[in-house]
């Protein structure tokens, strides 16, 4: 195992936006499931309701939890620390007071300290990847992080942008959709899951890596670690302190439920089928 004295901090960004599936990977977001998740009863989702003004979904009273891909990111960071390849793991989350709970979960998994970037109210509703990546880039400079690991995407908005944007803002290399990461001297070897298969790249640190499903299986917090987490520090920071403007450049015009699935039509013969398809203008 190579000991690197250069890699000081691994900052792990946690997405704690409300998600449809209460923190569980669900069939519509993660079509490829690990053996473990397949057994979870996924048949019933929480009923998501669109707000009456159609600007978003109802998040009041909905339990928020750590984004599953971010859980995998935290796990990887802690693994690196256990291998003594990194010195410190810092868990970061942006949002209102409730995100502290999520940061504590990361601390209970083994992160050393947390940073809570306070964003609440209207700002939180419109918080998106661009603002988050700016916050993160500023923090990375402040903390002198050597490695940033985050989930590849949040399962509520599926943006898949934050990691990439952070790398661009910092002008750092990026290894996205990682299913494997190995530190080799001052380079990170990342195996990426891409449509064509697996791509292996080597990126120089400092770098950004985004975690995909098969990177690891996150651990359950142990009781002793939960006790230790209580003593770990969570620092409070505001976006303004980092010189970041969280004003959104996007305006959500409307949010609608997916159209109701229509009943199908049974046909007797192939000719009937072709006829019906032609009628519907599909062929």
């Amino acid at each position: 195992m190579h000991r690197s004295s250069e890699v000081k901090h691994v900052a792990s960004y946690l997405n704690t936006r409300g998600c449809e599936c209460f923190g569980q990977p669900c069939e519509s977001h993660c079509p490829v499931l690990t053996d473990r998740t397949i057994h979870v009863q996924l048949k019933t989702f929480i009923k998501i309701r669109v707000k009456p003004d159609r600007t978003g979904v109802v998040t009041d009273g909905v339990k928020h939890s750590m984004n599953p891909f971010c859980e995998i990111a935290v796990e990887e960071a802690i693994k690196l620390k256990e291998k003594k390849l990194v010195k410190e793991v810092v868990a970061v989350s942006c949002g209102p007071q409730q995100v502290q709970e999520t940061i504590r979960t990361a601390l209970a998994m083994g992160a050393d300290r947390g940073i809570h970037v306070e964003v609440s109210g209207k700002d939180y509703e419109t918080l998106g990847p661009l603002q988050v990546s700016k916050i993160f880039a500023a923090l990375a400079k402040k903390e002198q992080a050597d490695l940033i690991i985050l989930g590849k995407q949040a399962i509520d908005d599926d943006c898949n942008q934050t990691g990439q944007m952070i790398a661009a803002l910092l002008d750092w290399p990026q290894g996205t959709f990682a299913s494997e990461m190995t530190l080799e001297a001052d380079k990170m070897k990342v195996v990426r899951e891409v449509d064509g298969g697996l791509e292996t790249i080597k990126i120089k640190l400092p770098a950004v890596v985004t975690a995909d499903l098969r990177l690891n299986t996150p651990r359950y917090a142990t009781l002793p670690n939960i006790m230790k987490a209580k003593k770990k520090k969570i620092a409070n920071v505001k976006p303004a302190d980092l010189g970041v403007d969280v004003c959104s450049r996007l305006e959500v015009l409307k949010v609608d439920e997916p159209p109701q699935r229509q009943a199908g039509v049974k046909v007797e013969t192939v000719d009937d089928l072709v006829g019906k398809l032609k009628e519907a203008g599909r062929v």
């Binding site: 599936c21 209460f22 569980q24 473990r36 057994h39 979870v40 009863q41 996924l42 048949k43 019933t44 989702f45 929480i46 009273g61 339990k63 504590r104 979960t105 209970a108 359950y220 917090a221 142990t222 009781l223 002793p224 939960i226 006790m227 987490a229 209580k230």
Partner: protein, 397 residues
């Protein structure tokens, strides 16, 4: 089905309870584990009568197999309230796993922690904190359950050894255990004052196991007789002082009772989860059956029974943690929780109707699992006697 209810439940319960943050986090971890790792396999474990060895090891790694044991001995170093929360959440996923955890914590590690010498603690506690090994508790005999003072298993001193002989019955975990706390009498004429406690490794020459009982419920945990024939152990294997056995047993059961109360709560909660979910989905007379008052009254009574028993359990655990007397409260908690479990699981089948009677739904398993909670670790009748005795003492003329 369970996913939605578990999360909504956690939202409601954290609003109602003033549990400290530490306990809330710990409860959530156990809930997550039970939901993801236990609930999906519980039905199969029950069908196969299979000991969940992998899950027990994982729970050991989490510290759940030795919640109260100090960290210096390999445990989690948490309090009894945390332990009760853990057992409830795990039992909600799988009642058998709940009892396996409870027996190891309360009935095996409990007395050794309280009455063992430093040497005994190192030898008999530390290896049993990791989930690699579990222990059991051998008090009941074919001839006496509630009548624990009438133990007829003998312990005779021969030189530098104790020789144990007799039969113990209904021992939970025994087919999967690596050690047991056995109660035997060194002098029958002294009646309950002649009973002492002994530590016996398993397997061991002179110790054999009876056939695994084919039980109605909690089938993934093994239950059988332990037969002792010329079973020899070093003198140093006596736990506590000679003649202290009955006391050790009673004190251990006081605490163990809370573990079972927690297990009963978990089973009851799972049955309520199942019923409430069904009430939303099943339609009859043109609407979900949850709209019918008959069902609503049932759900209300079920929730009330569980919540009352839960608060009694928490209170007893907190009294114990504060080192205050808690015998009466523990008996009340176990009585309330076990009767709640049988009541709620019975009503759950009623709510589910025909579906409650088949193995496609977990209601029938909860019904079968619940029944034992009114029997073991002190029957409901014994609990009533304990409570009555305490009440009468309080009102002593």
């Amino acid at each position: 089905m369970t996913l939605r209810l578990w999360h909504r439940q956690s939202l409601m319960t954290t609003q109602l309870a003033e549990l400290p943050e530490l306990h809330q986090m710990m409860r959530q971890t156990c809930r997550d584990y039970a939901q993801k790792e236990l609930a999906p396999i519980a039905a199969q474990l029950d069908k196969d009568h299979k000991f969940p060895a992998k899950q027990v090891k994982e729970l050991g790694a989490m510290g759940v197999m030795a919640v109260e044991v100090p960290e210096s001995l390999g445990g989690a170093g948490m309090d009894y309230l945390a332990y009760c929360l853990a057992v409830e959440e795990l039992s909600r996923g799988c009642a058998s796993t709940g009892v396996i955890v409870s027996v190891n914590n309360s009935l095996y590690l409990g007395p050794i922690l309280k009455f063992g010498t430093e040497e005994q603690k190192k030898q008999w506690i530390t290896p049993f904190t990791t989930g690699e090994r579990v222990g059991c508790f051998a008090l009941s005999e074919p001839g006496n359950g509630s009548d624990a003072g009438a133990a007829s298993t003998l312990a005779q001193q021969e030189g530098d050894e104790w020789v144990l002989s007799g039969t113990k019955a209904w021992i939970t975990n025994c087919w999967d255990a690596s050690a047991t706390v056995v109660f035997a009498t060194t002098d029958k004429s002294l009646k309950h004052k002649g009973i002492s406690a002994f530590l016996v490794p398993m397997p061991h020459p002179g110790l054999s196991l009876g056939k695994k009982e084919d039980k109605l419920g909690i089938r993934a945990s093994s239950t059988a007789n332990i037969i002792l024939e010329d079973c020899r152990i070093p003198l140093g294997n006596m736990l506590g002082e000679r003649g202290m056995g009955f006391n050790i047993a009673m004190q251990t059961l006081d605490s163990g009772r809370l573990g079972i109360a927690a297990q009963a709560l978990g089973i009851a909660q799972a049955a309520l989860d199942c019923s409430a979910d069904y009430a939303h989905k099943r339609t009859a007379f043109g609407a979900p059956i949850g709209k019918l008052q008959a069902i609503q009254f049932k759900l209300a009574d079920m929730a009330l029974a569980i919540e009352s028993a839960r608060l009694l359990t928490w209170r007893a655990a907190m009294l114990r943690d504060a080192k205050k007397p808690f015998t009466k409260e523990a008996a009340m908690a176990k009585l309330a929780a076990s009767e709640a479990a049988t009541f709620v699981s019975h009503q759950a089948i009623q709510v589910l109707g025909g579906m409650g009677y088949v193995t496609d739904m977990p209601a029938e398993r909860h019904y079968r699992d619940a029944r034992i909670t009114e029997i073991y670790e002190g029957t409901s009748e014994i609990q009533r006697l304990v409570i009555a005795n305490n009440i009468l003492k309080e009102y002593q003329q």
